[in-house]
């Protein structure tokens, strides 16, 4: 589908062993490209252990600004002998493989259609560094030097980045600089010239940042005014709370007293984490928890409670590869269904689906507004790819005029003026009742419960009273459709076929549509941003005969939600499923859609 690598359009993949400090080398390389003004995509494939396992890092440089992985490897840096075979296999024909030739491996590295470049990295480092840890670490920095030579990287940028990173550690700076030079010089001396595709300074990254979704989410929670983060550590969501805590320390800590305007509690498990969030939400604070699939499973009971007792709560589910413990360091979108209907009984939850770190920031703020407006748990459903990988995105923006929407909360004054307060009366006809906060006013008291209750908040086992409550909850669900963010739609009335997709599939879909358009296939596109679906999703469904539903799970869960909660025929929705744990790429979609279209023609 693509035309092979060219200047500012190539993919470098680095195979390494975790625990060897390769992360900083890889980030350095990616940042150099970014600072040269070339859009970059970085994907990290790391193992679910701490040290000694294979790990890969993939950088796509791409002048056109496509943000999905390319699905192709032009340069492989193979630092892990254990995976040489596999790593060699995935290089595109005509590509390059760099390996540590301190120990030559002609027998294994035997492909004839690629160029194999040996650099004696270990030897170079052993000759130049004495400490054993430094020898390991500097090998990695040295390959950055090799790549700098081969790809024509701007050495000023490299230097500036190093200087910035090691501002306060002069010794480290020198060591790193030396390692870079070792690699750079070796390459310049032993390989003639650079590769046929190179990095050239550009201007496509102005007003952009590099950020991962979890950091952006943590930041969003700070900006939303959250004061309690309660959580239990789990990959790949852990860095959300790390970020929240760090930003609270930065922005909310009184330097004199050392006291902070917020609280982060590491709960004993996920049940407890959500219990804390519900307690805080009931008590009038903005509170959230972050977790991944297994946590969502454990939170089922409390999620149903939050729905039925109508308590605001924000959850972030950073999806990973299921089922069960699955592959904790691989990505998937397979919690969609379980988030939507978590808990026994007739229960439904409002979901938001960010597609990138920028949306993680804005949607985490929206989530708090929605949770308080609708008095219900709201789950921001993201994934490992968005959450833990470094993404390029436009600068985050904040509107200082923003004030949080706290929903229908009665003040002491309101209560003072009222004859009597009843918790679950639908005064406004939108299915949303007024609530009160503990401690506000004696008239505000009510008894929150997950057992049968009537409009007045009293316990009931009466069929009619029960129906009034659950029917109103449906009405609230309808109201929610008007509050949640609208989908992103790219639409031309000429076309009767389309794509519906979700979350981190977005960039692959964007790229695939362009490639398909190149070959005359035009597909409209809707990206769902929230559940329940609103009117614009329905319009899109109505307007098309054939819609590819692109998502990253085995069981077509988004398609399932559409069948359950919108008006559409099964045959209209063609599932396009990618679920091997790696992020989606455009080629997969282009191939799948072309195959489907040719089947159509053949029939």
């Amino acid at each position: 589908m693509t035309t092979g690598p060219k200047d500012n359009d190539f993919t470098v993949k680095i195979a390494n062993v975790n625990g060897t400090g390769s992360a900083s080398a890889n980030t350095l390389l990616m940042k150099v490209l970014f600072r040269m003004g070339i859009p970059v995509v970085a994907k990290n494939y790391f193992p679910s252990n701490i040290q000694g396992f294979p790990t890969w890092y993939e950088i796509r440089a791409n002048e056109d600004g496509y943000l999905a992985r390319s699905g192709r490897v032009d340069v492989m840096v193979a630092m892990n002998a254990e995976t040489y075979q596999k790593d060699q296999d995935c290089v595109a024909p005509g590509g390059f493989l760099i390996y540590d030739s301190t120990w030559p491996r002609h027998r294994i590295l035997d492909r004839k259609d690629i160029t194999i470049l040996g650099v004696p990295l270990a030897q170079l480092c052993n000759e130049n560094f004495s400490a054993s840890r430094a020898r390991i670490l500097m090998k990695n920095i040295a390959y950055v030097g090799v790549l700098a030579a081969l790809l024509d990287l701007d050495m000023e940028v490299v230097k500036a980045l190093l200087t910035q990173s090691f501002a306060s550690k002069a010794q480290l700076l020198d060591a790193n600089q030396l390692a870079i030079d070792l690699g750079y010089r070796y390459a310049k001396e032993h390989f003639d010239g650079s590769l046929p595709f190179r990095a050239r300074s550009s201007d496509k990254t102005d007003d952009h940042i590099i950020i991962d979704g979890n950091t952006a989410t943590g930041l969003g929670c700070v900006y939303a005014g959250a004061t309690l983060g309660a959580w239990y550590p789990i990959t790949p969501s852990t860095s959300i709370m790390d970020a929240f805590r760090a930003f609270c320390d930065q922005y909310r800590k009184d330097p004199e007293t050392g006291l902070t305007n917020s609280c982060v509690i590491q709960a004993e498990d996920e049940l407890s984490a959500l219990g804390m969030v519900l307690g805080a939400g009931w008590n009038g604070a903005r509170a959230f928890t972050s977790t991944s699939g297994p946590g969502i499973s454990l939170m089922n009971e409390f999620l149903g409670y939050g729905y039925f007792a109508e308590i605001p709560a924000v959850l972030i589910d950073v999806q990973r590869c299921g089922p069960s413990t699955g592959m904790p360091t691989r990505t998937q979108q397979s919690d969609i269904m379980s988030c939507a209907y978590a808990s026994h009984g007739d229960t439904r939850h409002v979901l938001l689906f960010p597609a990138n770190p920028g949306e993680c920031f804005s949607m985490s703020v929206q989530a708090f507004d929605l949770a308080e407006q609708l008095q219900t748990p709201v789950i921001v459903v993201t994934d490992l790819d968005i959450g833990m990988n470094d993404w390029m995105c436009p600068d985050l923006q904040w509107d200082d005029a923003y004030q949080p929407n706290r929903g229908k909360v009665l003040s002491a004054d309101d209560l003072e003026k009222m004859e009597a307060f009843h918790r679950y009366i639908d005064a406004d006809g939108d299915g949303i009742a007024y609530r009160t906060l503990p401690g506000t006013h004696p008239k505000g008291a009510y008894f929150t419960r997950g057992s049968g209750h009537n409009m007045y908040g009293a316990y009931t086992e009466d069929s009619t009273e029960y129906r009034e409550i659950v029917d109103r909850l449906l009405q609230k669900w309808e109201a929610a459709k008007g509050f949640v963010p609208e989908p992103e739609v790219h639409y031309s009335e000429k076309f009767r076929s389309g794509i519906i997709s979700i979350g981190s599939c977005h960039d692959a879909v964007v790229e695939a549509r362009d490639r398909l358009a190149d070959s005359g296939v035009h597909l409209n596109y809707l990206r769902v941003k929230a559940f329940p679906f609103g009117a614009r999703v329905q319009e899109f469904l109505d307007a098309h005969d054939r819609i590819y539903v692109v998502e990253q799970n085995r069981d077509a869960q988004l398609r399932g939600l559409l069948l359950l909660e919108a008006r559409v025929e099964q045959a209209t929705l063609v599932p396009l499923l990618h679920f091997d744990g790696l992020p989606l790429n455009a080629k997969f979609l282009v191939d799948a859609i072309n195959t489907d279209l040719s089947k159509g023609k053949a029939a």
């Binding site: 007293t257 219990g275 009931w282 409670y305 904040w398 401690g439």
Partner: protein, 351 residues
């Protein structure tokens, strides 16, 4: 049903507290429990304790799990907010609620099933965090609401109504609390209001986690001969180790105690708990000794009661987490949100 509020007719001679409220103002809905259930006595002790402490009812938050015991918050202090959570998970809800508004009084009411089986982990971790709350276990040795199965507090040898003998050793809430570092550990009996009320008061004022394990007989499923949680058995094996008097900050010690027989613990707000030893050897400020005392008497089937241990100095959850004094739920949004200029600056880090 709980929406039937008691008629609020106040007898003109009814005593009123500092807030001008009468005990009636601390009552709640009509109980739906069985006539004679121990839990109802605990409820009325709550009414009295809250009344005597002159706590504004709306400044109290009542939380519970699921069970007959967990229903009782609906039966006192109807002007307080209540949170009847899910089974065994009240401690986490209370922790979260407390974390964002440290200025309310938090009362947790639970059962032995709710706290010692399904909720055991949460209870222990709330104790470990020293969440500032009063946590009462209405302990009847059975699951009342699900009709009489043995709970984790059922003693070895106790019999079920239909004769089944329990062989599984019990979990002792007080020993557990001591082991988890609890800062206020007491045991009492629903039938002994005189002992229970001052304990509730002291527990309400104590800064940190105050656990009171109240033996509270289930008349329907566990009050027969052979039960070790019946009214009769409890009365016969009752061993008050220490008696606690609660004295408000302003109050004076009116009663005079002989030296050596009493220990007086000053609480953070200036109020005092005066502990009168019934048992000579007892020292309620010595965690290890208290534990040994409990173990020894448990082996002799004696139900040791009173304020078994107190330590008012340990940091509570807010101190541990270094959180500001002001309730988090009342901090201005503008104080919390760093704003656009901070965001713009921050992002230089991300290039």
């Amino acid at each position: 049903m709980t929406y039937i509020r008691r008629p609020n007719v106040v007898h003109p001679d009814m005593p009123s507290n500092e807030l001008g409220l009468t005990a009636r103002d601390y009552e709640g809905g009509i109980s739906s429990l069985c006539a004679g259930c121990g839990h109802d006595s605990v409820t009325s002790a709550f009414v009295q304790a809250l009344f005597e402490l002159s706590i504004p009812p709306h400044r109290v938050a009542k939380l519970s799990g699921i069970g007959c015991s967990s229903k009782t918050p609906a039966y006192f202090a109807s002007a307080s907010h209540g949170f009847n959570s899910v089974h065994g998970r009240m401690p986490s809800v209370a922790t979260g609620a407390n974390s964002v508004n440290r200025d309310l009084h938090y009362i947790g009411v639970s059962g032995d099933g709710d706290s010692l089986s399904i909720g055991f982990g949460q209870l222990c971790h709330a104790i470990r965090r020293n969440v500032n709350m009063l946590y009462v276990i209405d302990n009847n040795g059975v699951y009342g609401l699900t009709k009489g199965q043995f709970s984790a507090s059922a003693d070895v040898g106790t019999t079920a109504k239909k004769g089944e003998v329990n062989i599984q050793p019990p979990i002792d809430a007080c020993m557990t609390a001591l082991t988890m570092g609890c800062t206020f550990v007491a045991r009492s009996f629903s039938g002994d209001k005189e002992q229970l009320v001052p304990l509730l008061k002291a527990g309400l004022v104590h800064k940190g986690f105050a656990l009171i394990d109240v033996v509270s007989p289930c008349v329907t499923f566990n009050d027969h001969l052979g039960s070790t949680k019946s009214y009769d058995f409890t009365r016969q094996h009752y061993h008050p180790a220490i008696h606690a008097d609660f004295i408000a900050p302003a109050g004076e010690i009116t009663a005079s105690y002989r030296d050596g027989d009493t220990i007086s613990v000053v609480l953070h707000d200036g109020s005092r708990v005066v502990l009168r030893k019934v048992d000579e050897q007892y020292d309620p400020t010595d965690r290890i000794a208290s534990y040994a005392f409990l173990q020894k008497h448990a082996a002799a089937q004696e139900i040791v009661t009173g304020l078994l241990f107190i330590d008012d100095a340990k940091p509570d959850m807010h101190e541990t987490h270094k959180v500001v004094e002001q309730p988090l739920n009342s901090i201005d949004f503008d104080t919390l949100c760093p704003g656009q200029s901070a965001l713009a600056e921050l992002q230089n880090r991300f290039r």
